[in-house]
């Protein structure tokens, strides 16, 4: 096993030395692709985190025309909680609503003097599960709530949620596109570089077959070369992203809006995942090119 690995590594380094210009170009391209993909993915991840933070306060308030009887409460509860996206519901009576309002007014609560304590409508507070999926369905869900008997109005941060959801949708498309770019560049660029090396060393590869080299003996250095390009390219891309991330954090350290939100870099498992995927993609690119070697 050791001699095999030694020979494979020696051949890999020799291949890379012979075509170092293409190697540098490939590294740059793979690194740039990983940078572009992971940049958008980082924005997406942070947006998701942000949505979780913001949705802590997210709830739908279902205003009712009258205080529901116990049977109707049970019916509301049954009809609303049957949805997986609902975490919990709270009934707020006219009296509770009045007390909350009074509490919110604080020192100004005397403005309520003379106002009947049942002037506010009873309501149901619906707390959706904190996930992007629930955000996306909130409009349809509010439409459904409106169809329930005795419901006057459903209120939630409609505009904000719709804008945020559109942004997340856009990010998803961008990530898909940049992911596609990543796949194309890694596999095709690496395949192209390996093809150049194969072409440059055609004579040697034929000779190796003539003196009894196995196909894997010839192929393995190219696979290692592809995987190395993926590994190094992805590492470079992520390192560049980290530098960019730190720079942005420093530049926007002041604004309150940004400091309130917790922007974080990828966790180690995500970093390892991106590097592994890029490495595998490059190895696949190399593998597809070197299939011809067995025909020598």
């Amino acid at each position: 096993m050791m001699p095999f690995l030694t020979v494979v590594l020696r051949h890999t380094l020799r291949n890379m030395r012979f075509t170092w210009k293409s190697q540098v170009m490939t590294l740059f391209t793979v690194g740039l692709s990983v940078l572009i993909f992971s940049f958008f993915y980082l924005i997406y991840c942070n947006a998701l985190n942000l949505s979780e933070d913001l949705s802590d306060d997210l709830r739908l308030i279902v205003y009712l025309d009258d205080e529901p009887a116990e049977a109707l409460k049970a019916e509301y509860e049954h009809k609303i909680l049957k949805f997986d996206q609902v975490e919990r519901i709270d009934f707020v009576s006219r009296g509770q609503a009045y007390q909350r309002f009074e509490k919110q007014l604080g020192a100004d609560s005397d403005v309520l003097a003379g106002v009947p304590e049942d002037f506010l409508p009873p309501s149901i507070e619906v707390y959706p599960v904190r996930s992007l999926d629930s955000l996306s369905r909130i409009k349809r869900f509010s439409d459904y709530l409106l169809t329930l008997p005795g419901v006057l109005k459903v209120q939630y941060g409609k505009e904000w949620i719709e804008r945020f959801y559109s942004f997340i949708q856009l990010m998803r498309v961008v990530i898909l596109l940049s992911g596609f770019l990543l796949i194309m560049t890694t596999t095709f660029m690496v395949a192209h570089t390996i093809r150049l090396t194969l072409f440059a060393r055609q004579e040697e590869l034929e000779l190796l077959r003539l003196v009894g080299a196995t196909a894997s003996y010839i192929r393995m250095p190219f696979l290692v070369e592809g995987a190395l390009q993926g590994l190094l390219g992805a590492s470079l891309g992520l390192a560049a992203l980290f530098v960019l991330f730190q720079w942005i954090r420093l530049q926007f350290a002041g604004p309150a809006a940004l400091t309130q939100a917790q922007f974080t870099f990828f966790s180690w498992p995500v970093v390892c995942g991106i590097v592994t995927i890029a490495t595998l993609l490059c190895a696949i690119g190399s593998f597809s090119t070197t299939r011809k070697i067995t025909q020598l």
Partner: protein, 250 residues
């Protein structure tokens, strides 16, 4: 339970083998030839007689259009491409066009054959030095192949063919670019490997190689096998294509 491995007595067996190069160049016609294990044999004939083609069929660089080629127990036609190394590792071939990598050193060129079978580095170095010493090339160890004369390149090609001490050695015109003394040294190496049990087929039109050895000499003419001769034609004009020898007689 141990399985008994049978070692074939016949190392190379060609049965009614024909080869045509496109569009219609008949390189070999109905060749039947048997080479025993440990035999040293010379294949003679004019340029274009089919000697190189025959060697290329044996090492499966080419495939026969008709007939059967069996080498070291392998039916060459049926050997899958992925297993071709099993056959090639049994064969050491010195090519007429040398097949050296011009930008690699002499040592690197010879090392190729040893590296593919994962020989340890110290053994590779020792074997290369031994072969170069025997072939008067010791000083050229680190010289790029492109800087060698044709005679030197030929010897490097022979050294690479012998490096692994293969069971079968095929040499295509091994003395084509060598002087008499160097040819003698090359033949000494071949004889040494022959004594050690290698089966050797040498394609040559140099009579001095086989005149006194007492080894079997087979002549090819226009792609057909003829009876072993004591007289070798002097000129191309004197050759007329006569009746071929029946397969079972060779």
């Amino acid at each position: 339970m141990s399985q008994e491995v049978t070692v074939p007595d016949v190392m190379i067996d060609l049965i009614k083998v024909s080869k045509v190069y496109p569009p219609d160049v008949q390189a070999l016609t109905d060749i039947s030839l048997t080479v025993a294990r440990g035999e040293m044999m010379f294949l003679t004939g004019m340029s274009g007689a089919g000697k190189s083609t025959l060697l290329r069929l044996v090492s499966r660089i080419e495939r026969a259009d008709k007939g059967m080629v069996e080498v070291a127990g392998f039916d060459v036609a049926k050997l899958p491409q992925r297993d071709i190394h099993l056959l090639r590792r049994k064969i050491g071939m010195a090519y007429q066009d040398f097949k050296l990598l011009p930008d690699r050193t002499v040592a690197d060129n010879i090392a190729l054959a040893l590296e593919v079978v994962y020989q340890p580095r110290p053994f590779i170095e020792e074997r290369i030095r031994e072969l170069l010493d025997r072939l008067d090339l010791a000083r050229k160890y680190a010289t790029p192949a492109e800087e060698l004369s044709r005679g030197e390149q030929q010897r490097v090609s022979i050294a690479r063919a012998l490096a692994n001490s293969p069971e079968i050695i095929l040499a295509d015109e091994p003395s084509g670019n060598l002087d008499a003394i160097t040819t003698g040294k090359v033949m000494d190496l071949f004889h040494q490997h022959h004594r050690q049990g290698a089966t050797i087929v040498i394609a040559t039109h140099d009579r001095s190689l086989y005149q006194e050895g007492g080894h079997r000499v087979i002549e090819l003419r226009f792609g057909r096998l003829y009876r072993p001769r004591t007289e070798v034609p002097e000129t191309a004009e004197s050759i007329e294509p006569p009746e071929p020898v029946p397969a079972e007689e060779v």
